[in-house]
């Protein structure tokens, strides 16, 4: 099987991340252009980021607890 017909998982992940990063940059550029000012931008972006990070943290915690339970 040649490398071109089947991507390695790590390479696929990197590519997905790059695409997501480009999409995020495009969304951010539109938001910056349309927002009334950086104050509004910060007012919206900060809680979104905080909630998102807390969400990710809780998910990671739940995964760990599940894994520990399976080990026991």
């Amino acid at each position: 099987m040649s490398g071109s017909s089947r991507q390695l998982p790590a390479a696929a992940r990197r590519r997905a991340l790059a695409i997501d990063l480009l999409a995020a940059a495009a969304i951010a550029a539109v938001a910056i252009a349309l927002a009334a000012g950086v104050g509004v931008l910060g007012f919206v972006a900060l809680p979104v980021l905080l909630v998102g990070l807390v969400w990710l943290g809780l998910e990671a915690l739940a995964r760990r607890l599940r894994a520990r339970r399976q080990l026991n």
Binding site: A24, A25, I27, A28, V38, G39, V48, L49, L56
Partner: protein
């Protein structure tokens, strides 16, 4: 040993979440740079106030005003309550000098009976003011439905004093000859009082002339505190176009007049003409400046005021024309000085939030200084 199972890629919604979080992080970069540079500038207010001011100045004024509206509406005081037994002491007892008595404004007639000791009675702000004090102070209960509200009022003798406009560190944002943003050391021997300015230019929909130069285009129909080059002070409804005439030394505009020709503005309830801030019916610290029939200035401030009730206070104190000045506890300040050299400063009302040394150090916002004219003793 079997190889580990290949990791599956992220599901579509997780990728969407990642995109949103990355976009939020990118958006925060310019916001954080702007905020940190604002915080690093010199201030004499706390981080909370600085953050709110930064938010207002960077497109978030509507959001801040809406949150303030909700907050002040939720914390609005209830009517009634126990009657007050005493008013805060302001000014000093008048000393008999034997000199020819000068004009003094009439006592402010109390609204609530029986009147409390000293209610509405003018007292000199300075300790050795003689028979013709440049600044007089009083307090009175301003609303029979809210008998615990106390208004502080100051009367400023225009013949004995000179009013100066002092730019702050950050307000107005663009100005030549900004100065020290505090009462200059060389003028402290003559400073009798200092008080807050109006709304920031960004939210007042109004103009400013300073040292005869237009800083922000003037707006017709807006209430204007104006000093002419001959030293005369007046409060007018501006009708001289964006640049005004060459006779003006400074002119500070703030919203439409709240009193004109002795009558309250009939549109005090609310509307877009009152600036991008909390609405007029919200009870909050408010301040205003009026002028009486003789051309003397009258400053008033109190907590829990609507624009309408502030106008009533000024009219009762004798104002025939008046404009609203700044609002909220962080910005409402009137300080008198009992001794020459800015000695023994004192807030008009003890509840005033800012220290009585506020204008003896550089301040964020523009303000007014009242100086005893040269040759006029204390």
């Amino acid at each position: 040993m079997a190889p580990p199972p290949p990791r599956r890629g992220l599901s579509a919604w997780r990728r969407a979440r990642r995109v949103v979080l990355l976009a939020a992080a990118i958006c925060l970069i310019p916001a954080a740079i702007s905020f940190l540079s604002a915080v690093r500038e010199p201030h004499n207010v706390g981080l909370g106030v600085t953050s709110v001011e930064w938010m207002r100045a960077h497109g978030g004024n509507g959001i801040v005003s809406q949150i303030e509206n909700w907050y002040y509406t939720l914390t609005a005081p209830a009517k009634g309550g126990a009657p007050l037994k005493a008013l805060p002491q302001v000014g000093v007892a008048s000393a008999e000098t034997g000199a020819k008595p000068a004009y003094r404004p009439p006592r402010i007639k109390p609204l609530i009976h029986p009147a409390l000791p000293g209610e509405g009675v003018w007292k000199p702000a300075a300790a050795h003011a003689g028979g013709r004090p440049p600044v007089l102070l009083t307090t009175f209960r301003s609303d029979p439905e809210y008998p615990q509200f106390v208004a502080g009022v100051a009367w400023i003798d225009s013949a004995r004093t000179h009013l100066a406009y002092v730019p702050g560190l950050a307000e107005p944002p663009e100005i030549e000859h900004r100065g020290p943003a505090e009462v200059p050391s060389r003028l402290r021997d003559r400073v009798a009082a200092t008080f807050n300015g109006g709304f920031p230019l960004e939210t007042s929909n109004a103009g400013l002339i300073y040292r005869g130069q237009v800083v922000e285009a003037m707006v017709n129909g807006i209430a204007t505190l104006v000093e002419y080059r001959d030293g005369r002070i007046d409060i007018v409804r501006w009708e001289h176009g964006e640049a005004g005439s060459g006779h003006v030394w400074f002119a500070k505009q703030n919203l439409p007049p709240i009193i004109y020709a002795g009558k309250l503005n009939p549109n005090l309830s609310d509307g877009p003409e009152w600036g991008e801030t909390v609405n007029n019916a919200v009870r909050v610290w408010r301040s205003g400046l009026g002028i009486d029939r003789r051309g003397n200035l009258i400053y008033a401030a109190a907590n829990y005021q609507t624009v309408g009730s502030l106008a009533e206070i000024l009219r009762r104190a004798g104002a025939v024309r008046a404009l609203e000045l700044d609002i909220n506890e962080d910005w409402t300040t009137f300080i008198s000085y009992r001794h020459p050299g800015a000695g023994e400063p004192s807030n008009l009302l003890p509840e005033m939030f800012r220290p009585d040394t506020r204008y003896l150090t550089p301040d964020e916002r523009d303000f007014f200084s009242v100086y005893v004219r040269p040759g006029q003793g204390w």
